[in-house]
Amino acid sequence: MRLLYFAWVKEKAGIAAEEVAPPDGVATVAELIDWLKGRGPEFAHAFARAEVIRAAIDQRHVRHDAPIAGAREIAFFPPVTGG
């Protein structure tokens, strides 16, 4: 699946987009975040306050308990500030 990062999540993670293949036990957005945090200090830093990070699966907002099975694109970003 393809992961996208925006705003300060992107800056802290040091990457804008990547392809990943998380292991089988990773079933929800929350579990994906936990898995990402273990990939290195940048990700641990970017997702340190996981509760403020918002997620979208295939360009729709989802909660952290959403299942990721079948997702093609998952994005992580801070609360939006447009308008």
Binding site: A7, A56, Q59, R60, F77, T81, G82, G83
Partner: protein, 154 residues
């Protein structure tokens, strides 16, 4: 209609386009959001967004407004890229037979896009760059609509 663009917009021209070749409209409301300079603290603002999801989310917000209010036309234009104080950021326009629906729908669109559309503002000032933080009152403004009846207004 929705548009996501780097270029500026012209409110007068957008209103003229909405009114063109019809005379059944009685009320047009526009909201223009602009880059506000707080006592010289903001030299520039950069709007990042999520291409693809931005368009999808704005279209969903507009469809929700059309389902809730008796609109004859609606428009959302949102800019991205680097802007200066005074520059336009966002335009919402609504047209209806009566003013109540036009006012309510414009406010609904702004409240919803503030908490749903994937844009992020970075302010560049004399003391460096900072990401603008989301405001709790914007969440509250959006939540207000889920308490109100979704019935169409005349």
């Amino acid at each position: 209609m929705i548009r996501v663009q780097r270029e500026d917009f012209d409110v007068g021209a957008e209103i003229a386009r909405i009114k063109a070749r019809r005379s059944d409209i009685g009320a047009i409301v526009t909201f223009t959001g602009t880059v506000r300079d707080r006592d010289g603290a903001v030299a520039a603002m950069t709007l990042e967004h999520y291409p693809g999801m931005t368009e999808a989310e704005l279209a969903r917000v507009e469809a929700e407004a059309c389902a809730r209010f008796a609109l004859q036309a609606s428009l959302i234009v949102h800019r991205y890229g680097t802007l200066e104080p005074g520059d336009n950021i966002v335009l919402v326009a609504t047209a209806s037979e009566h003013r109540e629906a036009a006012f309510e729908a414009a406010r609904f669109l702004m409240d919803y896009l503030k908490t749903r559309a994937p844009f992020w503002k970075r302010e560049d000032g004399p003391s460096g760059a900072r990401w603008v933080e989301a405001e709790a009152r914007d969440e509250a403004a959006t939540a207000r609509w889920s308490k109100e009846p979704a019935a169409k207004q005349p």
